[in-house]
Symmetry: C2
Subunit: 186 residues, 2 copies
């Protein structure tokens, strides 16, 4: 295999291994076996299980996060929800993230790493949406981006990841966008 | 030990074992050892790991769910959020539930069981709040209790369990209640 192919094979194996056995039971040996490479090929690229997983999350987080600029708060929130609904239906979100949250409860360094990779990107996007809405006079000066993230992403995360209702009712995202805008302006 | 004491010792051990090693690696042997009882004492009471954990969740879910009746939608939502904030800060919520969600992605029977134990109770409480608000004219006829649950609990779950921000800003729950009421009425 070429170097780049080995890297991709390892990334794919990490994802399969995470989905199959979870972070706690995942091993570098298991990943190497699944990727069809030697353990040293893995260790040459990543120093630990955690760095492997963070690499996977980084790719996922970057994939899912264009910053919308539709010209209205409703439009931007609706666009954010579309992207979030797509991302939250991905197995990385439904399996890997809850898995890491469990580990994070035991290992604070995982909390910080996951927070850095996943939340910082989302916070940046939402902060830009809030800033634009303030500039247009749709939100009051000083609107808090963290509160906005809770109100926009929270209900959808709850529905898709906790309640685990993959088929959203017809028009659910439109309705949720309208509800989130009302909440943001409250 | 008396019979009831054995039962309580096992329950406490299940919780400690779940927090320490997680559902996947938890074993009846480990629980028995931690509780200071024989394996048969555990098997006499519960037939599997899953039934032990569901028993724990049932106690937790029942604990956390009085139905508020304050006379206003804002008051009821604020009361729900108070209870939810307390429950979501409990280690059962921050560790055990995400843990079970991870397992649920691999084993659908866990999804159904967790959904039954946790969500049915919450759905019932929120349905009662929505019904009262409709009767008072605060919400439109036909308001959907599942949507209400997403809008009320979702943002707080996101903040406390996903973002893992245990110290809520001053006045956060008051603000969230106002935002949720605006969202419900949108």
């Amino acid at each position: 295999m070429l170097r780049a192919d080995v890297t991709e094979a390892i990334r794919a194996a990490v994802f399969e291994e995470l989905a199959a056995v979870g972070f706690a039971r995942m091993s570098i040996e298991g990943i190497a076996r699944r990727a069809g490479v030697g353990k040293t090929a893995v260790y040459r690229r990543w120093k630990s299980k955690l760095s492997l997983v963070l690499d996977l999350l980084t790719a996922f987080a970057a994939d899912g996060l264009p910053a919308p600029a539709t010209g209205s708060l409703y439009g931007d929130v609706r666009a954010l929800l579309e992207v979030a609904a797509h991302a939250l239906r991905h197995p990385v979100a439904s399996q890997v993230i809850p898995d890491l949250l469990v580990e994070a409860a035991r290992h604070p360094e995982i909390t910080d790493a996951v927070r850095g990779v996943l939340l910082d990107g989302q916070r940046g996007v939402v902060a830009s949406v809030v800033r634009d809405a303030v500039a247009r006079g749709e939100l009051a000066e000083g609107a808090d981006p963290d509160r906005a993230l809770d109100l926009v992403v929270g209900p959808l995360y709850w529905r898709l990841v906790v309640v685990r209702d993959a088929r959203l009712p017809e028009g659910y995202l439109d309705d949720l966008a309208a509800a989130a805008v009302a909440a943001l302006r409250a």
